[in-house]
Amino acid sequence: MIEIKQPASADQLKPLLSALSQLYELDRKVQARSEFQALGRNLEKMKAAFDELGYRIEDPQGQGYNETRVDLEASIAGSSTEDLVVTEVIKPIIRYLMRDSTGEYSKIIQRGVVVVESRSKKDAQ
């Protein structure tokens, strides 16, 4: 097993994770509104800076979900539990990356908080 050391204790990371979640939120709002387009580049630079530090934001929106995905804390909306897909992201997944000569390894330091629902129900809507 590859041992990746946590960058800091969970408590120490809290403010950082909160900042990264806000960055994700901001990015999503900017993408949704054309009048904010000019901010996109600044956000990209911020994300790149965090990436450089080893923190990467991952957006699970639209991804499939089942009980083996422990990178997500999900609330299941609707009545069906089959063929689930992420329809709402409350907090993104955040990984801590470690790079060495053999490649890039990561550890999830914040699980995504999402709402999932059955694909068939979503299609029907």
């Binding site: 990746i4 609707g78 539990t81 490649g103």
Partner: protein, 827 residues
Amino acid sequence: MSKTINFGIDLGTTNSLIAKFNKGTVEVYKNPIGFKESLPSVVAFRNDRIIVGEKAHAYLEKDPRSTIGQFKRKMGTSESFKIKSIDQSKTPIDLSALVLKELKTFIHSGETPEAAVITVPASFDMVQSNATKTAGHQAGFKQVVLLQEPIAASLAYANKTTGNELDNSQWIVYDLGGGTFDVALVRIADGELKVVDHEGDNFLGGADFDARIVERIIVPSIEKKGRFDDLLDQLKSASGRLNRTWYTLLGAAEEAKKELSTKSASEIDVELEDDDGEMVSALISVTRSEFEALIKDVIDSTAELIRTILTRNSLQPSDLKFILMVGGSTYIPSVRNRVEELLGIPVNTDIDPTNAIAIGAAYYAGNKPLELMEAKERDAAPSPLKLKVTYNKVSLETEEMFAAKVEGAVDGLSFRITRDDGGFDSGLKQLSARISEDLPLVPDAYNSYTLKILDQHNNPIAIELIQIAQGKYSVAGQMLPDDLSLVKDNIQDGDTKLEQVFARNTILPAKKKMTVDVSKTMLHDTEDEIRIIVVEGPSANHPSSNKTVGALLVRAKNMKRDLLRGTEIDLTFEVSESRSVTVHAYVNPSGPEFSDVFTPKDRNVDVKALAEEIGMLEEKIEQEKAEALDNENYEVVDILTKLSGPIQELQGEAVLLTIDDVTDNKFKLEDRKRKIAQELHQATSTKRIERLRSEYLLVRDEVSELVKESGNDIEKRSFQEIINREHAFLNTNSLQRLAEHVSRLHGLQFQILMRSPDFLIGWFQSLVAKRESFNDQVQARNFIEAGKQHIQGEDFDRLLEVNRRLYSLLPQQEKESKEMRHFTGIS
């Protein structure tokens, strides 16, 4: 000394925890998945796997026929749960045993506990208590000791305090968790703790508070902003149009609730579509007093239960020492305050309410002797199983099938596969002669999994590592053969230097962003240009000895405005698998973007830049030769003389090249230039390294004194960091690294000197000596006058300010005593 049990478990109705006593302290273990201390006491049977904890909790409401929670309430009854997905029944004991087994996976030390202290509510009778014991045995514990929860909480408190202040007293343990409420009267007499009386409400907890925030604050606010017929129904009903939003709002309400524990107000950001399809967005403010009013009746009802106990035991509030607060919901200030206010008994919040029971259980376990017949160490017996695994080690898919053949007795065994980044868990699956599992892959990454074969008590008997490279790693072998670097101006030395963009052996494709500063002001109507030059070769070398991959020219005449010194340029470098390099430049803030692709076959050599480089090289050779002659280093003189001829020849040929030369002459010239540069640097590198080394040692001694005398903590630490790395860079042959550290020392030196009166006065005097050259004589005179006054008044902060202003009045060439070269225009 005899061994003790040490492990304590809080087997809760909604959440469970495990802790261990070790040499006087207690560690609460964290779930290796998600790192939370608590594990939801929920079990799900999905397809062919058993899932325990948070994942199962997600399915609790939506798949109730195969997901079971709150089974603790049925302990000791003959009731069992029919599980639809496996078409079997499970007893509360079976389900509790599964939770206990899952808790064992939290123990990161690899120990296999043979005994544990498990807590039970004060309300549990003999039958219920015995059922808990059986669950413990079923989970593989040979010895199970039960402990009442209020006692455990009290022990956690008692172990935090010193002395015997608790002796012969009584108190209330108030336990308000996520979904249940318990209250107990605990008495200590002759050193023995005892639960005298208890009460509780099995359907009361923090989750109710969240729902109230949504129902009574958020929903009415939204209803005012858009058209909704039955918003609450639409949210709460599984078939409702807005059911998804219900969970989002519950989450937001929980966040707000937590925030209100420390702040006086919190805001909830809501966005949803109304019945007309219009987007309704609202920023709803919840104040602490609103929230307190919302839950007041609930808190009052809990105080009532305490009163019931007091009356029943003929006690006055003053007979009680305190009310010990346990359970996550007691973090809420109004819960603490209201209970204290209503009953007039001081509340005690000295222990962490979320894990106090597990901690207390562990303290108890730390004093409880192990009474096992065979309490010997478990031998690490070799696994009797043989595993033959098959899977693709590299993949471009998002999922890979893992298959294994198992030889040996598989009855009663199970397996589990987890991904090491904490993103995948197969859950517990029954082991058979052939197993297969789809493994989801993280894109562009090395995916590492652990397969564990577990015995009936969840103890691992075999472990296998699975490693799959996804995406770019599938073409491993496609690596960058040499460093790729960017050429920048080295203003201090009037030379150029390299900054590494990609290191050798970087796996392709690769992408990197960098920001550089424009090092000279360019007027937009001139022929001036900035050169983004990418070279291939060791990044520790001098730029001219590396091979040029390409140069992207940012021309002043393509700009709408002048490009000022210090302007940032965002650069993006991309190297494809076929090693073509794309450079993309975006100039802030004037906006134009430039990009170019350089392919290894189609080398890009800029004729104008080449001629300049050859010129610089020729000059450098002559300089070095003169210096070597002065130092009587004839060996070097000899080598350099031999280079003079070829470089002059090259210079002549370069002049003849046209700007748009289409032959391969320019490539040949570039190659020859590079070879000459390599020879020059080879011949002179020892000298330059030696010189830098002695410069480093000299500056180090100076700075050492300075730091000792007037450095602050941060400066002392920075200096120490440089010293700590000293052995590494002093022995290197990398000029860049040595130079970097010398420059850091200079920076530190300057920083400290800036606070030194002597230095500031000296600097002022040297500026005054240049009074003739200031751009604005009137201003300069004023500053000089002010400076003199500051020296007299010993106001050195202001003197520093004056020095800076005077410096800024100096003409450019006075500021830069050395002639500056701008070859690339970036630094």
